[in-house]
Amino acid sequence: MTSPLISLQDLKKRYQLGDNTVHALRGATLDIMPGEFVAITGPSGSGKSTLMHILGCLDRPTEGRYLLGGQDVSNLSRDQLADIRNRQIGFVFQGFNLLPRTTALENVEVPLLYSRPLMPAPERRAKALAALTSMGLADRADHHPSQLSGGQQQRVAIARALVNEPSLILADEPTGNLDTRTSIEVMRTLQELREKRSITIVLITHEPDIAAYGTRVISVRDGLIRSDTPNQPRSATDEQIALEPIADVA
């Protein structure tokens, strides 16, 4: 039996706001196996983003343990967490978070700039271009974000998340800024990553439609895990094919 990629043990996160203590996470226990596509849902303020930040090693839990690939990362230093983010985690944000005035290729290259040991420039270029190509954006390498559509921008962001070959991709509302058609396109891309490269994906959404693409759906409420169920995922590929005629009519 394989060991879990992510293992949370009674994870708690509190924020101190003056005299008030906000319990963002009240005790989450959770294992995620490699190759799972986990959709985390829940109403606004339920603690989804807080969980995501801890999973992404951007924040540390107040209490509890977080094992990533068997390593306890709950109490690492800022720089150690930075290295883990760089090597093992790819982020996809709702707002894409691409650097403006910078080409698609250079945006994808950014994580490689912080890799240790540092790769030679031509190698970095080649890797970034390969990641862009896998997202079908080779011909857009020299475009700036403002010259790309929302879907293209999000695919550049996914290429950037992939460039360092992480074991985990964290996506916080990746379709939040996209229309339905483009959302399905992005979901198909994520499904393909899981199927073809067996990358583990954790996706946060408050849309049940989007959560339905995952192999497992976790629902969070008031900082606690309320339900955790396996799911027969919808196939984004099938839906896209179904959408084509509509696109032709329109």
């Binding site: 930075a82 950014v110 994580p111 420039a121």
Partner: protein, 506 residues
Amino acid sequence: MPAAHDVRLAASALLRNRVQTSLALLGVMVGVGALVTSIALGRGAQASIHDQLLAAGANTIVVTAGNYQVERPPNNEETVGHGTAAAAVLRPSGPDVVVSLDRLDAGFAGGRFIRSHYEDDPMAVHDHPTAKERLGDTMAGLGAAATLTLEDATAIRDELPGVQFVSSGVHENARIAVDIVGGRSWLTRLHGTEADLPSIRRGWTFPHGRFLKAAEVQGSEQVMVLGRVVADRLFGEGVDPVGRVVKLWNQPFKIVGVVGSRTWTSQPVAGDDQFDAVYVPVTAVHKLLNLSKLNTITVTTKSAGETTQIAKQIAVLLRKRHGISESMSDDFTVKSQAQQALGKGLPPDLARIVSANMGSVDQLTVEQLSASLQKTNGTLLALLAGVAAVSLLVGGIGVMNLLLLSVMQRTREIGLRMALGARAADISRQFVLEGVVLAAVGGVFGALLGALAADLLNRWLGWAALVAPLSVVLALIVALLLGVASALYPARRAAQLDPIRALTHE
């Protein structure tokens, strides 16, 4: 993070806020420029002080025949060498060879017959502008003692290693006449001298012609160099008299040059000893007047610091040559010109500063004079350095302000870079580099600006300025340090941002 990428990133980040970057750049430029200019002015002042010190004769020793101090009565201290009163007091102690002063008797000058030397008659009214000063001259009365010879001069030149130039001299008052329409003549100071004199009087220039040549001195030729004042009076202002012939003691002398001053410490005026004067070969004077003695031997030392010591060596040498025993006093006077440099060589302001810094003017040595000038210069330098430091501080604040703005504008970018794996050091290096790029650009242009300013001050205001390559290098290093120092705080702020807050920053 790779360096080339870093620099490019810093440059593009700086270009984002063009106006603020330009202002910060201007601040750095002014600071660095002020530094370069102030160093240039400081060094210029130093070089100029050294130059003036030497031009004023700080390394000059004058040996005068006779020793007037020996027989000065103790009750007569306030009488300092004037006319007949002085002559009675200042009795030369050397062998009593009296130089005849009546040789002007036969002189026919300016159509007027001169019966006697004008200084011979104590009742005479001297309308010559130099007469009064002339009588106060330390030389007056001393030259009468004929104890120095050309051989003494040669001995000083050959036997004392620290000696640089030696020029022997006979000094007289003489009327120089020129045969132009109406006739014109000028009563002035006559120096019989040698070819080395311009090397001793460093502040000389020759607007026309040249100084006496060694061959002319050797051959007792009747050639003459006019002081600027004499040339102007005899031939009119600015007229080139080279090649013309004047009469001295009714003998023709061919003019070979005109001597003027190149320093601000002494400008030619009527009555001064250098430019209201004429110069002829000492040998020609000896031959025409049938003399063999000298009034003075003027010596310069190789280093201004050795003057006092060499003055002593000269005294020892001359005592030996003159066969003066232990108990007897010198038959000559050795005087280094530091005191004179203080009194008349330097401009009044500088002299006042110098004397304010001196314990006692009497004990003044060249070393002390030099040290005092350096101290004054040091104060000036400190002041300039203060101005530069304030400018640099202001420049640094400008850089810091720009970088803080940059950190604020790019908070989201910083958060993103952190999420993608940038360590704290990666983030802070990015901002330090921004400061360094800014400072480097500002430093290069500032150094150019400073050098230009120094040059313009030099050209327009005549301030001494010396831009050394080393000071430019220093300025660039200071600029880079300034860039780093100003960037440290903004860089630290950027590096300590919380990644989540930075990422969600609006």
